[in-house]
Amino acid sequence: MNGYGAVLERITRVPGVRGAMLVSVRDGLMVSDQLVEGLKGAAVAALAASLAQRVSRALAAAGAGAPAFWHLHASDGGILAVTAPEDLLVVAITAPDVNAGLVRLELLRAAEAVA
């Protein structure tokens, strides 16, 4: 496991987290991941990075500054993401009943750790 792997593993220890990954926003490619089997990591990475770019533009247009954290909550799960330095995104894929506050805290720690 590389250094990023250890950082991501902390996120996956939160109950209800199915996987975590570090994504390059510009490329939409995974830098590192800790995912349960069956999750389409490459697809999530590409689409999450695309979404992050669009959210950034929407917030900039609204004069709200750069996004720090976003959470998409769906019926069968969710995606939480925190922006990290070097144009990276720390992403967690979760079950619907996860403690989002705790996941956010771990994502912020991970973003600090990769800085």
């Binding site: 939409g28 490619l29 689409l47 990075a49």
Partner: protein
């Protein structure tokens, strides 16, 4: 704007791909450079140039892979300052095809292109006739065949 194709079964998959990726230019061709479908090109000469250059890249990287005792590269990607160029090959009922994709980096990414390229390959594989094209283009007919293809690709 929709894709233009020499064979109509290629139009819907290319249109869907362009929509998802927000590609600027797309060319679907054989590894030898015979164009099957195009999206975004305004001039026939640009299609011919891009197809010839892409075929050259496929041939030269295939040869590098052969020298390294590797299988040919499935995908090549080049990122410039504002634009990316993606070249990927895939099998179909009509034999192997190559897709050349030019995409803007401010609206798309190599991850998105790679993701939907897999879908494009699957869609073209499913849509393509199962028997390979048997018609041989003779040297004497080459110019007429080329003109017919370009007319189809530009809706003339």
């Amino acid at each position: 704007m929709t894709a233009r194709a020499v064979e109509p079964w290629a139009i819907a998959p290319v249109d869907a791909f362009v929509h998802e990726v927000q590609a600027r230019l797309v060319l679907v061709m054989t590894p030898a450079g015979q164009v099957l479908a195009q999206w975004g090109f305004a001039r026939a000469v640009d299609v011919m140039s891009a197809a010839a250059l892409a075929a050259g890249i496929v041939a030269s990287t295939g040869e590098i892979a052969r020298l390294l005792a590797q299988r040919p590269f499935a995908v090549l990607n080049h990122e410039g300052e504002r634009t990316g160029v993606f070249l990927g090959s895939f099998p179909t009922g009509r034999g192997p095809l190559v897709a050349l994709v030019v995409y803007p980096l401010d609206a798309s990414s190599v991850g998105i292109v790679q993701l939907f390229f897999e879908q494009l390959a699957a869609d073209l594989q499913e849509a393509s006739p199962k028997e390979p094209a048997t018609k041989q283009v003779l040297a004497a007919d080459f110019e007429r065949e080329l003109a017919d293809s370009l007319n189809a690709l530009f809706g003339r």
